[in-house]
């Protein structure tokens, strides 16, 4: 114990008051490594987010509209994958499945784990949105001869997804940050890349500070993007979002509504 604290003190002493400023370290060591990691992080997000939303929609539809056995299965899905800690889920996929003969690469295990977790959370936001659509919308669609499937696809989903944007984008931001957990199943994403440099060069504040900035940038970008999307999809006259354009399209240079041919 005494040895440990002596070493600890020595390390603390060695590190204190020292932040690397040499351009060679920043430009040729840290940035390339973290940049490489960033690419992997982006790739993870790109693989997970669309699937997470798509499966989230399907699970939510099953819960709201499918007959009993299917809606029950969907409910179990949500209970399990929302209830299981993400790290434990990743460990099961990566370290556990080989014992029943399924060998997954780290990246694949991470994508699967993230999709399962992300879609379970998304489905709850989307379920809430689906249930908030007035029943008259479905009834009117059916009265025109649409099948239930058509009504869900063309009437309910477009309206519900608009309402789900704030929740789903919240989940998207979580996703950006919990991709760092892929580190635990050997994926060299941004956090892992930074950690390797940090250990090797004893440059913790530099490496993790930079990574923190990168995550912040990603999250800011996502926030900006989803806000833009929300405004773009706002329903004129209905959604309480400030829209720059007038609530209906006007003929150029007049106050007359535009005629449709």
């Amino acid at each position: 114990m005494a040895d440990g604290s002596v070493v600890g003190e020595a390390v603390t002493e060695a590190l204190s008051g020292f932040i690397r400023t040499d351009p060679d370290f920043w430009l040729n060591v840290l940035l390339p490594a973290v940049g490489q990691g960033l690419l992997v992080t982006l790739l993870l997000i790109l693989c997970v987010a669309p699937l997470g939303i798509l499966i989230g929609i399907l699970v939510a539809i099953c819960r709201v509209y499918a007959p009993k056995p299917f809606s029950f299965l969907a409910k179990l899905y949500v209970i399990f994958f929302r209830g299981c800690p993400l790290l434990v889920l990743l460990f099961i996929l990566y370290f556990g499945l080989p014992s029943i003969g399924i060998l997954l690469e780290g990246f694949t295990a991470a994508v699967i784990g993230f999709v399962l977790c992300n879609s379970a959370y998304n489905s709850e936001y989307i379920r809430g949105a689906l249930q908030s659509i007035k029943s008259g919308q479905m009834i009117a669609a059916r009265s025109l001869g649409m099948t239930k499937k058509q009504a869900i696809l063309h009437i309910i989903i477009p309206q519900a997804m608009r309402r789900a944007i704030p929740g789903v984008s919240n989940e998207f931001i979580y996703l950006i940050k919990y991709t760092s957990l892929a580190y635990f199943v050997t994926v060299v994403e941004m956090t892992m890349a930074a950690k390797m440099i940090a250990m090797h060069y004893l440059a913790f504040i530099e490496a993790f500070g930079l990574v923190a900035l990168f995550y912040l940038a990603l999250v800011s970008l996502a926030t900006f993007g989803t806000n833009k999307l929300e405004k773009k999809l706002a329903i004129p006259g209905l959604t309480a979002v400030k829209v720059k354009d007038p609530p209906f399209r006007l003929k150029k240079g007049t106050k007359e509504p535009r005629k449709i041919k």
């Binding site: 007035k134 008259g136 919308q137 009834i139 009117a140 669609a141 059916r142 009265s143 025109l144 001869g145 649409m146 099948t147 058509q150 063309h154 009437i155 477009p158 309206q159 608009r162 329903i235 004129p236 006259g237 209905l238 609530p247 209906f248 399209r249 509504p257 535009r258 005629k259 449709i260 041919k261």
Partner: protein
Amino acid sequence: MSGVPVLCVENLSKQYGDLKVLKNISFKVKKGDKMVFIGPSGTGKSTLLRCINQLTKPDAGNVYLNGEEIVHSGHKINEYRQKMGMVFQNFNLFDHLTAVRNVELALLKVKKMDKAEARKKAMFELERVGMADRADYYPAQLSGGQAQRVSIARALAMDPEIMLFDEPTSALDPELKREVMEVMRKLAEQGMTCIVVTHEMKFATSFASEIFLMEKGEVIEHGVPADIPTSPDFKRMREFMGAYTEE
């Protein structure tokens, strides 16, 4: 007017728990008929309309559209529903679509028309209800009367043989009521077969070719509106209408 019934309702019954909402309702609708159902709230008038186009499954009885039985028609009901346009008390326009998109959506997805054709038809129907100049507006930007006219155009676009109006003016103020009723009268003049549920007594008597008074799930009196003031068959009807006009 030909004598072939467009719609034939036989012994229609519906029950929610212990509450009998419809009890053995039967009537026939010939082409061009304007059947108007009046009666106190909660007597099953709206349920009747919904049991006709099977938005609500009746417990017993049959509905025939042009002689074809539709209660047990399975998936074919989607075809039959196109022939029975429905207009709702709360309009139920699709909130995320402009007026013209509301009208053309079912043309594209159900009738599988191509885009140009559907747009042309949708604009024609909007013109018919005097809403062509608001084609690009979203439902939330329309007044109640305008929204209801768009919803009538939406139903008309499917070329229905019969229109079902479920209290189309109940959510509107008197002035907006008038614009919707005018559209309905115009349709009737063009020979459209209509079944209307309404609380507008004046409109009911001037519009109907046959008027029905419903109470507690049953038709208790029916006949030609001209007979209402004098016929002994219309005792309860006079009472009911009197209660309305006194206000």
